[in-house]
Symmetry: C2
Subunit: 433 residues, 2 copies
């Protein structure tokens, strides 16, 4: 029986037609069609890392904390987990302790809002900072699709700023600000992941970080720093994040416990210590974000917060040690990936193919001399049994048209080896210039 | 040390200035200032109802289900809980079974998206259905502030439709549609809670439900049905919900497990079985909502879904029995509240004071002959030790200016009795016409 649809896609909000919203579904669909292909596409944390997790023990640890440190009687402590909770969060003090120890970020609990993953933190931050129709969001391009998607959902216009392997091009951002001003608009905020960005794998040098902070001050714009992959840096090779360097409260710092802790808990946070003046006083920007949160998700599941709170307590309010072990594994995977690429292509590097060797993160960007489109991905999957993510889907421009993203986070070492062998064959025969 | 704020409220998104966003915080603040007052303000579920809950046992029940019914090996089943999951949800089949058994709603799992509470389901639904600048959201007025707040956050213009004790005024909605058409706009969707709405406590008669569905079909608009309080009806006094009566797929049904199940899990859902046509085929509106969800919260915590899934499995995929016990208690509280009002005011009903006796829900609407403003609330709290919610904060018009909302869900019977005694004194002395 054929029946007429009740609606057409064009009857729904325009953001649903934006490819960024379909990007994840599309990759899953290709993976489903090629179950035997080795996939460098997904950027998910390694499955081994959730195996030692025990939500029960972690919840118990948090309940003990509520009783002993916060003085709640046992039944009141349990009710904290089972009932609604404050929109701003339950574990803000544990998170600020960890931020101080692990990242040198000095924030008070009221400067933090606990969110359903970093994604909700991004959505709330973009919403709060966008006041006028002429307020632009600048994004490092290529960009994590969740940021552009959230902006589209909110109706916020987006402008791209080049990001190379050395991170965001600060001069290009300055040019974007000048251009916006000439058009009677302004760049209100700029999204950037200075440490091993997704998808580009880029890291900003220290000088560029300072230059970016200076520009933000000069242009009166806010930086939205995403720090999902910062933990993967080697201990003797870390750079301070933007928020740690932020003496003028220009940075809203967004983080997640999904990569270091527990993806299934869906707990993230925003650090927004900006003071917001109003008629009867002042509050933190995080408190305004919490107000917005009441109409998005009301509050983050106390059950989930308890698990993450337990994890923080279990590790002395610092996830550095936990992060260190995982970071070593990810860096080993990354080295294996780039080593294997060099090894397998040693006898004849395909013309026009190149990649960089990031010092951390999950991602390697590969430049091709040919368009890395869906047709090419289909060839790679069907004929060579290897999958990757076209950079095109992460870019607002044509910059990503001849690039692919390889992710090494989810694969076992032997699969990386085999996958790269297939990839080398594919690159040599199909992607050479 | 005085320092200049970094920002002013007027620099942030305008929705933050809307009183609906501050409504919850404001009531909490008044309650904090008057800890000894008896509060009829909060609409939270009764704390007793979470006491029998055992998240561990419920999670185990869900893990057993993943192993035995879905054939996952034990380590794969655990990973389902710990890792990211599908945006559309993990427990859709359990939810559709319960909807069929408990509410006569016939939906397929792909017609459902599992959300972070009903609030996220509302946000996603409003976003998807709003295409053009001239698309209005009509809301029953007075209205649950989460709906108006979500519309403000999304920049969706809102129009009010009168709601009396017999529910939404369908003729007024028809007039709003005509008015919008005359202005070159259209009412795209209408939010309504036909069963014991929050805050009004109204219930729509069956004939009005049919009339509303007919109007929706005629005007090509969608009804967003919120069913949070439907479960509180007596078994011999239930009416079919809009979605159960919806033969033309005009209704998106939004629900929550917070009231019957587990507030702390933060799990809700939308039933959106509308077929959406696009270039290469068709999908359900729920699948489009899941796409939107990828840029709001990515996915609902699998840990939370496991707890709710366990609850559904534990009760034979039906929450009717669970709801019945709670409903009896809430109805008893409601009767106690209205009985006590009558008893305590028997010797001299204050002129111009009246209320209705709802057959279910958490809320009683009281009409006053004087403005029910913050000054009056302060008098009530400080001098009489009793708190209530001004209806003003739930209304887009001045309709609520002389009304208050009393909630009976959170209080013990003896507190209701004492609270009403105080309320009667307050009404007699301060609120008489």
């Amino acid at each position: 029986m054929t029946r007429t649809p009740d609606l057409y896609e064009a009857d729904l909000h325009a953001c649903l037609e934006d490819p960024v919203l379909g990007a994840i579904g599309f990759l899953n669909e290709v993976m489903d069609r090629h179950p035997d292909a080795i996939s460098f596409a997904p950027g998910a944390p390694h499955p081994d890392f959730v195996q030692g997790l025990d939500p029960r023990a972690l919840t118990d640890r948090f309940l003990t904390h509520l009783r002993t440190d916060r003085g709640l009687d046992p039944s009141r402590a349990e009710r904290v987990l089972y009932e609604y909770g404050p929109a701003q969060g339950l574990i803000n003090d544990l998170v600020t302790d960890a931020l101080r120890t692990d990242q040198g970020i000095d924030a008070a609990p009221e400067d933090v809002v606990i969110t359903v993953g970093a994604q909700e933190a991004l959505l709330l931050t973009l919403r709060a900072l966008h006041r006028n129709a002429g307020d632009l969001l600048a994004v490092a391009d290529p960009c994590y699709p969740g940021v552009v998607g959230a902006a589209r959902l909110l109706g916020i216009p987006v402008t791209d700023v080049r990001e190379g392997t050395a991170g965001l091009d600060v001069d290009h951002l300055a040019a974007r600000c000048a251009q916006a001003r000439a058009e009677g608009r302004r760049v209100r905020a700029c999204y950037v992941a200075p440490d091993f960005s997704n998808p580009g794998g880029a890291r900003m040098p220290l000088a560029a970080r300072h230059a970016l902070l200076d520009l933000a001050q000069r242009e009166d714009l806010f930086l939205v720093e995403d720090n999902a992959y910062g933990f993967t840096a080697a201990e003797d090779d870390t750079l301070p994040g933007l928020k740690a360097l932020d003496t003028r409260r220009r940075v809203v710092h967004v983080g997640t416990f999904a990569k270091v802790g527990f993806p299934g808990a869906r707990v993230g946070y925003a650090v927004a210590d900006q003071r917001v003046g109003h008629s009867s006083g002042e509050r933190s920007l995080a408190q305004a974000l919490a107000d917005l949160k009441t109409v998005v998700t009301v509050n983050t599941s106390p059950l989930s917060q308890a698990v993450v709170g337990g994890l923080l307590l279990e590790h002395g309010r610092s996830l550095r040690a936990l992060a260190r072990g995982k970071a070593e594994r990810y860096r080993a995977n990354l080295a294996r990936l780039t080593d294997a690429l060099e090894r397998h292509l040693a006898d004849g590097m395909p013309a026009g193919v190149s990649w960089h060797r990031p010092a951390g993160g999950f991602f390697v960007r590969v430049d091709l001399p040919v368009p890395a489109d869906l047709a090419l991905l289909e060839v790679s999957a069907a004929q060579y049994g290897v999958l990757w993510a076209p950079m095109r889907q992460f870019s607002l421009t044509d910059r990503g048209d001849r690039q692919i993203r390889l992710s090494c986070s989810y694969l076992e070492p032997d699969r990386i080896e085999t996958g790269v062998r297939r990839l080398a064959a594919f690159l040599t025969k199909e992607a050479a210039g």
